[in-house]
């Protein structure tokens, strides 16, 4: 059996600071533990640098399952509590189709078509009152 695929991402995902924004680029297939580590790293970096925005570029991600979806939603919720806004950028169309069928629409998550559009979105005023609001609860 041969595996001619991109190597799985282990350990830490690099978190880059560009002015007031953190840029996180997810590539390939993540271990669950890597995704959870990223969640912690982003929180720590927001606090230590005082950035006001987080862009998560997922254009290199082939699937978003309910675990990764939950991690993305929690990063956004956690960033909001730390006074930063989060935009998920570059989702592939096949990933979007699959997430909707899976039932994973993540209503609280702000998205942009690419990282540049996400940066522009974050440089503007925060007009969306629903932004990063509480997740809809099923009762």
């Amino acid at each position: 059996m041969s595996h001619d695929f991109s190597r799985p991402v282990t350990g830490h995902v690099p978190v880059l600071r560009l002015g007031d924004i953190l840029l996180v680029t997810l590539q390939g297939d993540l271990y669950d533990s890597t995704a959870q580590q990223l969640q912690q790293d982003i929180g720590d970096t927001i606090v230590s640098t005082g950035v006001t925005g987080v862009v998560i570029d997922i254009s290199g991600v082939e699937i978003v399952d309910s675990f990764l979806g939950r991690v993305l939603a929690e990063i956004a919720a956690q960033a909001r509590l730390l006074a930063a806004r989060t935009v998920v950028a570059g989702m592939r169309p096949a990933v979007a189709i699959t997430m909707v069928e899976l039932g994973l629409t993540l209503p609280g998550l702000r998205t942009a078509l690419n990282a540049e559009a996400a940066m522009n979105l974050l440089s503007g005023p925060d007009q969306d009152t629903r932004f990063g609001g509480p997740r809809q609860e099923n009762r």
């Binding site: 059996m1 297939d29 189709i97």
Partner: protein, 146 residues
């Protein structure tokens, strides 16, 4: 058949690292069988949900992959089995929003929507076996045949 070598496999599911190999193998197998990108993405996502169930709720297990050929379209069958506690209330486990772990409660019911055939065989105290099959869409016929 020639693609069988790249499709048939039995992979252990013992850690989150194994989940990565499960996803990569299912993608490779689906690509070999002619699944489109969207079909591959759906099946790999379903496999990821089911493999995580095997790991988290079943205490680990394995996934077998098998090509289903001979019909009008190529199919891929995935069988996830564990010897865990089993699922006491299957109907509830399949409903959206139900979670016994720390996911979004989309695992089993969500995976079912992403595949064409779905079967669960679970005996409390003995284990759980989830079998799914997806089919590659038939490739469009050449113009001459129309």
């Amino acid at each position: 058949m020639q693609t069988a070598a790249g499709v048939e496999a039995c992979l252990p599911i013992r850690s989150d690292m194994d989940l990565v190999w499960v996803r990569q193998h299912v993608r490779q197998a689906a690509a070999l069988l002619g699944f489109s990108l969207v079909e591959q993405t759906k099946l790999v996502t379903a496999a990821s949900e089911l493999a995580r169930n095997t790991l988290v709720h079943g205490g680990g297990g394995q996934m077998e992959t098998e090509a289903v050929t001979g019909g009008p379209a190529n199919g891929l069958r995935l069988t996830f089995s564990d010897e865990g506690p089993g699922i006491p209330d299957l109907e509830r486990a399949l409903s959206d929003g139900y979670t016994s772990g720390d996911g979004l409660g989309m695992g089993l019911g969500g995976a079912r929507r992403l595949v064409h055939e779905f079967a669960v065989d679970s005996t409390p105290g003995v284990g759980t076996k989830v079998t799914v099959v997806s089919w590659a869409a038939r490739s469009p016929r050449p113009r001459g045949e129309l």
